[in-house]
Amino acid sequence: MSAPYLAFDRVTKTFGDLAVVSPPFDLTIARHEFVVFLGPSGCGKSTLLRMIGGLETPSSGEIRLAGAPVGPPDRRRGMVFQSYSSFPWLTVGGNVLFGMRYRDDLSSGEKRERADRYLKLVGLADFASAYPNRVSGGMRQRIAIARTLAAGSDVLLMDEPFGALDAQRRESLQVELRLIQKTDAKTVVFVTHDVEEAVFLADRIIVFSQRPARIVSEIDVSAIFGMERPLALRDEERFFHARTELLRMVRHTAGVDP
């Protein structure tokens, strides 16, 4: 097993007297791994993700990135949200450029070049001068992804980023995200409550209990499907099988939650 790149070390989190993460939570994530947090809504997935990003601090314990405890948010850990993910007052290209606004190590020429590269990578090159309200919801999520990549994030933290999209857009974005993650060599932590999405995307799925968040099980998806995730995988028997099995497990842990 590769060295722990990202590590939760006996982390707990309470909001007032609401215990969201307890008992102490341990998890290690390898570099360039695609990890999916799957669990019923309200179980604490977002809270865990936000703690990685520095948007919340653990009540106790520590989160380490490349050996060092994580501090306040910075551009190494980029966040992609479900809604309000792109800035409406900037064009698509402007949004991607904004990702590099606080990078003094790049000249403006280099920034423009990088912006073009990432716009192309997410398939938005033709929409660079459009405003986000003129493009589809799926494209708006691509803007956010490109912006975060352009910023130079090592870890992509994605909180149900495709949750508001229709099924078709969602599928094609999943395929693309998986490709992007391999091309650009990123570590991804992806939160969802959609079993099929988890199975399709993940190298490893962490299944959570209801709140307070505990790990119910871990599934090594790459051991089943390998690294490549073409759209056609969805039609394969083994995909159905894995999905059904996971669905059963989730239903079981979720208890009353349908």
Binding site: G53, P72, G78, F81, S85, P88, W89, Y102, R103, S153
Partner: protein, 289 residues
């Protein structure tokens, strides 16, 4: 001509405006919609109804005055008011007084804005500022401006300062809370995205949060500017020698009701025009919405 071919489509489409105009005026479904519960909006039909309603009200008023159903001292005919207005604007010095009032309103308004924008932003951005200022602002905003006229005279005398102060008082505290609210409504996601893109807190405020609140801020400013005009009369009856409020108050003393009404209409027109201009700027500047 060589580009006759290029003109053909223009010629063809020239026939259609006629049709659309005819449809716009007489499409019966447009009017039927007006009577349906939560019916579809139909702009032209609604504009027509609004115009007719205005004409009806003015006509009734005119008729009542002409038939001597009302005492002209209390309710002069609209035609008389209009004639007086025109006479005051062309021969009299209504324009000068309007200018003076506009200047006062804008000075007070800008003073309010310049102070309220940063304070309101900080109130919603840092708990310490909000906790310290919110109760004070909330209290003062309920103080009735007219009741503060004597205090204002004690402090500032009867010159321009008092007038500006009263206008400022009526708007500043309201505007602070509006600005604070605009800032509070900026989605968390924008702020947190910026933080994870490497922005420092101050950069988040200036580069993202302020930019995100801007359309709402402009709306808040527009509304506040309107309030300034409503406080103008209070400010300008305090020993003023100029301004629309002074015109109205002087006319009242001699029971020149048409002049009182003309003054009120002048304020209404200036307010409406300013409001429409700001709305137009808003539409143009925030096309991305």
């Amino acid at each position: 001509m060589s580009d006759e071919a290029a003109l053909t489509p223009v010629a063809r489409s020239a026939a259609s405006p006629e049709r659309t105009v005819a449809r716009a005026v007489s499409d019966p479904s447009d009017f039927k919609n007006l009577f349906v519960l939560r019916g579809r909006p139909s702009r032209q039909a609604e504009a027509l109804v609004a115009l007719l309603a205005c004409i009806l009200v003015i006509a009734l008023w005119e008729a009542a005055a002409r038939l001597k159903l009302t005492n002209p001292i209390f309710l002069p005919a609209p035609s008389t008011v209009a004639a007086t207005f025109w006479q005051m604007a062309t021969a009299g010095d209504l324009l000068y007084h309007s200018g003076v009032s506009t200047l006062r309103v804008w000075v007070a308004f800008l003073l309010s804005a310049v102070l309220a924008i940063p304070i309101g932003i900080l109130m919603s951005s840092y708990r310490i500022v909000g906790a310290a200022l919110e109760p004070i602002v909330d209290f003062i905003r309920y103080l009735p401006v007219p009741a503060l006229v004597p205090l204002s005279i004690i402090w500032f005398g009867v010159g321009e300062e008092t007038k500006i102060f009263l206008l400022w008082l009526g708007t500043f505290f309201q505007l602070v809370l509006l600005v604070a609210d605009d800032m509070r409504r900026v989605p968390h996601e924008y702020v947190e995205s910026a933080l994870t893109l490497g922005a420092r807190p101050r950069q988040v405020l200036s580069d993202v949060a302020f930019r995100a609140m801007l359309p709402n801020l402009v709306d808040s400013l527009r509304i506040t500017l309107g309030w300034c005009w409503t406080y103008l009369i209070i400010a300008e009856i305090v020993a003023a020698q100029s301004g629309i409020g002074f015109v109205i108050w002087t006319a009242r003393r001699y029971m020149k009701t048409p002049e009182v009404m003309a003054g009120v209409i002048a304020i209404g027109i200036i307010g409406l025009v300013t409001d429409q201009i700001i709305r137009a700027i808003h539409r143009r500047a925030f096309r991305y919405l």
